[in-house]
Symmetry: D2
Subunit: 147 residues, 4 copies
Amino acid sequence: MADSGPASADYLKMDVAALNAFLRDAFPHSTDGTRGTVVIAEPGHVRMQLQSNDGHLRPGGIVSGPTQMALTDSAAYALVLSHIGPVAMAVTSSLNYQFLRPCRPGLVTADARLLRLGRRSVVADLRLWTEDEMRPVGQASVTYMLP
Amino acid sequence: MADSGPASADYLKMDVAALNAFLRDAFPHSTDGTRGTVVIAEPGHVRMQLQSNDGHLRPGGIVSGPTQMALTDSAAYALVLSHIGPVAMAVTSSLNYQFLRPCRPGLVTADARLLRLGRRSVVADLRLWTEDEMRPVGQASVTYMLP
Amino acid sequence: MADSGPASADYLKMDVAALNAFLRDAFPHSTDGTRGTVVIAEPGHVRMQLQSNDGHLRPGGIVSGPTQMALTDSAAYALVLSHIGPVAMAVTSSLNYQFLRPCRPGLVTADARLLRLGRRSVVADLRLWTEDEMRPVGQASVTYMLP
Amino acid sequence: MADSGPASADYLKMDVAALNAFLRDAFPHSTDGTRGTVVIAEPGHVRMQLQSNDGHLRPGGIVSGPTQMALTDSAAYALVLSHIGPVAMAVTSSLNYQFLRPCRPGLVTADARLLRLGRRSVVADLRLWTEDEMRPVGQASVTYMLP
């Protein structure tokens, strides 16, 4: 907790194109599409989307937990980068994921929203959903430590 | 996760007065005001408030973590009861709390919102705040198991 | 995460008596016994115990979740203090509690063990139990930020 | 929480070979080695190992968070299967991961231990480590719901 930081920045240090370029360079081996694509970046909010494929599924034909958590971590990372700039060494310190409903194959959307932007850490709220934003398939709280 | 339940009920089984009466009977020894008072109950959302006193403070003169977590648990419990009725034996199975900012003394508000209402479990998102709803002092994910 | 710190200190900066005196001074209004008593302090490990009373119970006659979480937070705080000294302003940044079994009234024991002792944060593993250490009533991960 | 179950089973329903065969069939597209291999299965405990490759790394040359969380989920799943038998539809309901230290490339070991084995859910404690079991790179609490 420590001292309180602003809930959101007034402007962004990286836009959608810069975020996607950064993620592509940072993870050169991620050719399987697990990382997803940033589609919205605005103060306090980043949205990423992933088109699931067969490699993302688990028994029952639903999108696997690790796929959901990887997309969650990427979206939180993009949210952090958009507010503090291209600091590769920001690292996740905790990720707490609640699986709410089966995640059906297709387009998976992750919305990352700032809960706290501090000097030493960033806390984000994440929601994953498929057809209906009001019926999320997962919710997560993610903390990043800043270098 | 299991099978998917509705994100919110269309009507409530207990209103504000019924919830406060239930909590008062369920915790006859809670005379110190730690539990707080239900002030809003509507489909998908319950709000509780607590007027903090000296017994709720920790070093630094801020509201203690256990006080915040007790209010969180009460608000999640009231949310569950409002949607399923007066089933005392619903029990918390997990509570994950992120402390975001110092919680200053005074009126503390907790908003509990349904993430998933299933037959076997309920998952809620909780936000605690003091002056500014947009700058929460804490966020929690709480899971209740139903009997 | 950031850079890695030692998993445990070689010696303690506060012993059992110093920890109990510090907690008593830090929480002068905690007269209801919710905080418990430190009974063991050794490198990497602190044990606290609480004798539950009627005020700690919830419907069903078991020890309430908030009571368990308050004891958890106190034991994690004592663990931090024992390793870094009497720094009152160390603050909890997250507490994630899993309720495992009904917590029967009587003597409740909390074991706090260091997972990581860093310069900026401390992560602890917590186990609460009553009769049988091998059948914990709760498990928690607690993170403290250091000033 | 609900009623309390045994902390561990007396015998296993699936051994190391059966677990690896099951995981291979369940995830036919996981050819990149992300899942890892079960190397120990005994009452209350399953160990999996993963030999990391370049595709598992993040900026800084350390094993990525999603790789660690995927191994964590697999090890928890194997622990559940070993105790209840080949029930593919057990699903993760929550995964809470604490990143403790940088995870260096090489052999990553995940130890999954039962905290509670109930009729409706299983809670496991997970530790990930590389060179030194006493200095874990990550700790997680994972809950599986049983069908």
